[in-house]
């Protein structure tokens, strides 16, 4: 279903040089609350990122993820809560003393300075040849040795991003923050930059937190996802954990895709339950639903767990084909159930098979083990 390669698995930690892999410190935030003029932007947020880990704070715009990043960086002091970096409580420590590297969404390169001056800006303790050597080392790290004397505006977006990363790493931070780091890059370049970034991250072992609204990006890069919605953490865990066992409907639909069907519990016993869908059809789960009889619920089903049948089958529900789009080895169907509920289905594409015309009727069943139930909101 997910076309993105899980990059974090493609680069083995064995490649990382053990000598330099001690840069990262663990981050822990607990009970963070922050309000801009009354309305809370962040409400009781807690999570941990182990030293050397890559975490992605994932959520729609306005969910408070950028505010969290600014709180961790020290640019914003939270109303309540604790930010801990390694063993230090840094909640009240000013941003300039925190030694936290940050890559801004627009990179925020100093436009009047060359790449060398930008990267050397945070090396205030070094002078002359020593500083030059350190900047050269950082430029080599991001493979921009040849661009040292360019101005930022003379470089492409991808190159600018690497300058921003090199500049953020210069003061040897123990934590690196990235705000939507790949959003401004076009799709083809993005995968390259993500791979390049992970290579660097593994090499340095620096603890990294990125903020993104793009779940594919988060899944590709991070080993830990923190899904936020409306200022709160919905769920935190590994990408597969969140994909396979989403705790809320929001996580289920935001991490990966899912269709949502309204239903009510028609029968409930110790070992089985029956759900009446909004279409009037009934489906039988071979387990307890966990809800009382008569409760309104929603069923979330991922496209790869919808099975298509050309002919009516026992327990199958009729649906109208609206659109079918081939995507790599899969074909993605947009279907409509009898009551107008949209349903997405993914089907393995037989090689050479012609695309079925839209408009016909198809019959669907669900892989019931993978259907998840949530209380109706």
């Amino acid at each position: 279903m997910d076309a993105t390669l899980p990059l974090r698995d493609a680069i083995s930690p064995a490649e990382a040089s053990p000598a330099s892999a001690r840069l990262g410190e663990a981050l822990s935030v607990a009970g963070i609350v922050h309000a801009y003029s009354g309305a809370p932007a962040v409400d009781d947020v807690s999570f941990d990122v182990p030293a050397g880990g890559v975490a992605a704070i994932l959520g729609p715009s306005g969910c408070g993820k950028s505010t969290m990043l600014r709180i961790i960086s020290g640019l914003v002091t939270p109303t309540a809560g604790v930010v801990r970096l390694g063993a230090r409580d840094v909640t009240r420590m000013p941003a300039r003393e925190r030694r936290v590297g940050m890559v801004f969404q627009n990179y925020a390169l100093f436009p009047h300075m060359t790449v060398r001056e930008n990267v050397g800006y945070g090396l205030s303790g070094l002078k002359g040849a020593e500083k030059r050597a350190e900047v050269d080392k950082l430029l080599a790290l991001v493979r921009l040795e040849k661009f040292a004397d360019r101005l930022p505006r003379q470089m492409s977006g991808g190159q600018q991003q690497r300058v921003a990363v090199a500049r953020a790493l210069a003061p040897r931070p123990t934590l690196l923050l990235l705000d939507e780091p790949f959003a401004a890059l076009d799709r083809a370049l993005r995968a390259d930059m993500q791979f390049e970034f992970l290579r660097l991250q593994r090499e340095l072992g620096i603890t990294t937190i990125l903020v993104t609204h793009d779940q594919e990006e988060a899944q590709a890069v991070a080993d830990r996802l923190i899904v936020m919605n409306a200022g709160k953490v919905e769920q935190a865990g590994s990408p597969s954990e969140l994909y396979d066992r989403p705790r809320t409907l929001f996580v289920n639909t935001f991490v990966g895709q899912a269709s949502v069907i309204k239903a009510s519990v028609a029968a409930e016993s110790e070992t089985a339950s029956t759900l009446r869908l909004s279409t009037g059809d009934e489906i039988h789960l071979p387990r307890r639903s966990g809800f009382m009889r008569g409760t309104n619920v929603v069923i979330a089903v991922r496209p790869e767990h919808v099975v298509l049948h050309e002919k009516p089958a026992p327990g199958a529900i009729p649906a109208r084909r609206m659109m079918a789009v081939p995507q790599g080895p899969l074909r993605l169907h947009d279907l409509l159930l009898a009551d107008g509920t949209p349903l997405k289905a993914a089907e393995r594409r037989a090689p050479g098979a012609s695309d079925a015309p839209p408009g016909g009727t198809v019959h669907v069943t669900f892989e019931l083990d993978h259907c998840r139930l949530y209380p109706s909101s």
Binding site: S73, G74, L75, A95, R96, E97, R98, R99, V100, G101, M102, F104, Q105, N106, A108, F110, P111, H112, Y121, G122, S124, R153, Q154, R167, A168, A170, P171
Partner: protein, 267 residues
């Protein structure tokens, strides 16, 4: 449609060229007159010579003019400096204010531009006399800073408002304090605004009559007042020569200003 287009173009271009002619013609006339070989200011000139320029640069005959030029240059340079020291930080600060506060501060900062300078000059003279200050060159500078400072403020705020706040945040996170961040990031990025403001303030100060008239003492003659006297007394052609020099300086100034304000960004 085509007819309407033609009419539209005729009106717009016609008005445009009329405006250009209206602005350029007096300058051209003044310039041409300054090269006259005759005794008086008139157009068209009697013959062509550089005699009035020679007369203007004669250190003995034009000594009072040179004094006036020197005074005016001092006043203009000090006014630019004063405007830079007060208006530039004010402009930067104003961009960091909340909406409500800046809605109050902004008109206050620009008020001197709206107030008739003659009124300000008279009011300043009376106010200064009351606290025992007599007209002098520093008072002229002070008056010019108040009246022309807003030009610097406006030029700077236009740039400061467009500065990306994340640049300063990036500097902070790289361990650099607020003051050094201002010197190394904010100030260099405001240079185009500062130069534009400096040019405007310099020219306005050099040209000002109304404030200088009240705040300059009898011994401190300034160029525009001096020129005015010369025309009143004798239609002295050296006034045209001074204008010629000023026009030349302005053109050179504008040429360099363009270079600095629009550097080879596309390179």
């Amino acid at each position: 449609m085509a007819n309407g287009d033609r009419l539209y173009r005729a009106v717009v271009f016609g008005l445009g060229w009329l405006a250009v002619a209206f602005m350029v013609a007096p300058v051209a006339v003044g310039l041409v007159m300054s090269f006259t070989a005759g005794q008086t200011l008139k157009f068209p000139p009697d013959g062509f010579s550089l005699r009035w320029y020679t007369a203007l640069f004669d250190p003995v005959r034009s000594a009072p003019i040179h004094t006036a030029i020197w005074n005016s240059l001092q006043i203009a340079v000090l006014t630019v400096l004063g405007a830079f020291l007060f208006a530039m930080p004010a402009a930067y600060g104003a961009t960091r204010l909340k909406g409500k506060v800046s809605a109050i501060v902004e008109p206050l900062m620009l008020a001197p531009l709206v107030l008739p300078t003659l009124v300000y000059g008279l009011a300043a003279l009376i106010a200064f006399s009351n606290i025992g200050l007599r007209p002098s060159l520093p008072l002229v500078v002070l008056g010019h800073v108040v009246v022309f400072g807003p030009l610097m403020y406006r030029a700077c705020i236009a740039i400061a408002q467009r500065l990306d706040p994340s640049l300063e945040e990036a500097s902070t996170l790289l361990g650099v304090g607020a003051f050094m961040t201002f010197l190394r990031i904010t100030l260099p990025l405001m240079v185009p605004g500062i130069l534009a403001g400096a040019f405007l303030v310099f020219m306005q100060s050099l040209d000002n009559v109304s404030v200088s008239l009240f705040l300059a003492d009898a011994r401190t003659s300034v160029l525009p007042l001096r020129m005015f006297q010369m025309i009143e007394e004798s239609l002295d052609v050296r006034v045209a020569a001074i204008s010629g020099v000023l026009i030349g300086v302005v053109f050179v100034g504008l040429f360099f200003a363009r270079r600095v304000l629009e550097p080879a960004r596309s390179a």
